[in-house]
């Protein structure tokens, strides 16, 4: 495993692999989101209770999943960075913070808009919603650290450790609907006893989740590429100065 990491810790070698993946995932993201939206907005049936408002689910649920996945990714990258000290993991973690902010924000906003017709209120202070809002603020804190410390080695460790400390929130978000009686409904896809959503709704949901996943990879690789090239440019300029 470590050998494998070593092979791709070299930024140039990583970019060689990353650029084709970036292109493929960009195209894949476009098509899966496009087809997913057609299924979600036109072909899937309206819910017998919630009528047409159920279509907000196809944005809300995938972006909530993706924001959790983004934080998990940042957490794991930070752990790998702290253990093996490969700067590439740190770049990956840092560049996924703005994407995480966008996903979290869209999940919060779409959730609020969905809450009004179904619960009768935009916002309640229940466990799931509050812990998700805390996740949003932790993301903002990571962004603050990333911007204020810029690229000093001190800032790198600060970032990695903060994302480590913030990881406590993930299990709380996941299990908040089981531990407390919340207004937010419990998990209906990943749960013991099988899926409780009909196949016609499940297909667009998974398509949208897959699309957002590809989108995440695409945006992440684009910003990582920019970051690496910027760094090599700075190194090049410094080497010119020294000569």
């Amino acid at each position: 495993m470590i050998k494998y990491f070593h092979k791709f810790a070299n930024p140039v070698r990583f970019l060689k692999l990353a650029i084709p993946i970036k292109k493929i995932s960009g195209i894949a993201a476009f098509f899966t989101i496009f087809i997913g939206l057609i299924f979600a907005l036109l072909l899937s049936p309206p819910d017998y209770q919630q009528k047409e408002t159920v279509r907000i689910m196809y944005i809300h649920v995938p972006s909530a999943w993706m924001s959790l996945m983004t934080y998990g990714f940042i957490f794991l990258s930070s752990v790998f960075f702290l253990i093996w000290r490969f700067p590439l993991f740190l770049i990956l973690a840092k560049e996924s913070v703005p994407i995480g902010i966008i996903f979290t924000f869209s999940a919060l906003i779409s959730g609020a808009l969905w809450g009004k017709p179904t619960w009768g209120t935009y916002w309640v202070w229940d466990a799931r919603l509050t812990s998700f809002l805390i996740l949003f603020f932790i993301f903002l804190g990571l962004k603050l650290i990333k911007d204020t410390f810029s690229n000093s080695s001190k800032g790198n460790y600060t970032f990695a450790y903060l994302s480590l400390v913030g990881g406590f929130n993930l299990p709380i978000i996941k299990f908040s609907v089981d531990w407390w009686n919340t207004l937010h409904q419990p998990a209906s896809i990943i749960r013991t006893g099988g899926i409780s959503v009909s196949n016609e709704m499940l297909a667009p949901l998974f398509l949208m989740a897959l699309g957002l996943f590809f989108l995440f990879i695409y945006i992440l690789l684009v910003s990582v590429e920019i970051n690496i090239k910027e760094k090599s440019l700075i190194n090049f300029r410094d080497s010119l100065k020294n000569n």
Binding site: T130, F137, I138, G141, L144, T148, T158, V165, I172
Partner: protein, 220 residues
């Protein structure tokens, strides 16, 4: 080892006692904060009675937050931490003495004074014991959670704002369960106390460990 611990602890306590700014700052801030609540409610005693517990918790949070800034700052600036590191003094002793002193001078006075302020704010005696227990578990947690973040922001130019911004999200779960525990104490339910105790027992192991890692990183 025990001698070293006692030596460092007495040094920390002396540091707090002789530097009156440091020791009275948190408590003074707490008193001022408490003063705001009755004044800002416009003399509505009914409302004040309802929010008395929450206001004491909020003031405890802010007093803790405001004193986090000076937790490692002085020792980091004048090189004491580096001297400790060079002389191979185990970091867990340093971190635990810092934690104990920080709690002793910010959390402990608030716990002792909280029943007094509950009577002063709400005019009743009913929730005194519940508030006392919840603060007893909650304030060490505040100090513990604040420690790694205070260590993280060492050496940053805009330390104060960053510290406040980063720390409050991590304090939120504690204040949620703290206030809930006092409310359910009167009905004989202790589930939130058990949860806070669980968080404390996990935190007292892992958070000093993370702090040690961060401090070593910042000294190298």
């Amino acid at each position: 080892m025990t001698r070293l611990f006692i030596l460092l602890l007495s040094r920390e306590v002396k540091g707090y006692l002789f530097n009156t700014n440091k020791s009275w700052f948190a408590l003074g801030f707490f008193l001022l904060c408490i003063l705001i609540f009755p004044l800002s409610l416009g003399g509505s005693e009914d409302l004040l009675k309802k929010i008395s517990i929450s206001s004491i918790w909020i003031c405890a949070l802010f007093a803790n937050l405001i004193s986090l800034e000076s937790l490692f700052k002085e020792d980091y600036k004048n090189g004491t931490l580096l001297q400790y590191h060079i002389n191979r003094i185990p970091f867990f002793i340093i971190v635990f003495t810092k934690f104990i002193c920080h709690w002793l001078f910010t959390g402990f006075p608030i716990i002792i004074l909280s029943p007094l302020f509950l009577i002063f704010l709400s005019g009743s005696y009913e929730n005194i014991l519940g508030l006392f227990y919840s603060l007893l578990i909650g304030t060490p947690l505040f100090s513990l959670i604040g420690m790694p973040i205070s260590a993280l922001t060492l050496g940053s130019a805009a330390r104060g704002p960053i510290l406040v911004f980063l720390t409050i999200p991590f304090f939120l779960p504690i204040i949620i369960f703290g206030v809930l525990s006092v409310n359910s104490f009167s009905s004989g339910s202790f589930s939130e106390y058990y949860l806070l105790c669980a968080i404390l027992s996990i935190g007292i192991i892992f958070l000093p460990y993370i702090t040690i890692k961060i401090l070593k990183e910042s000294l190298e």
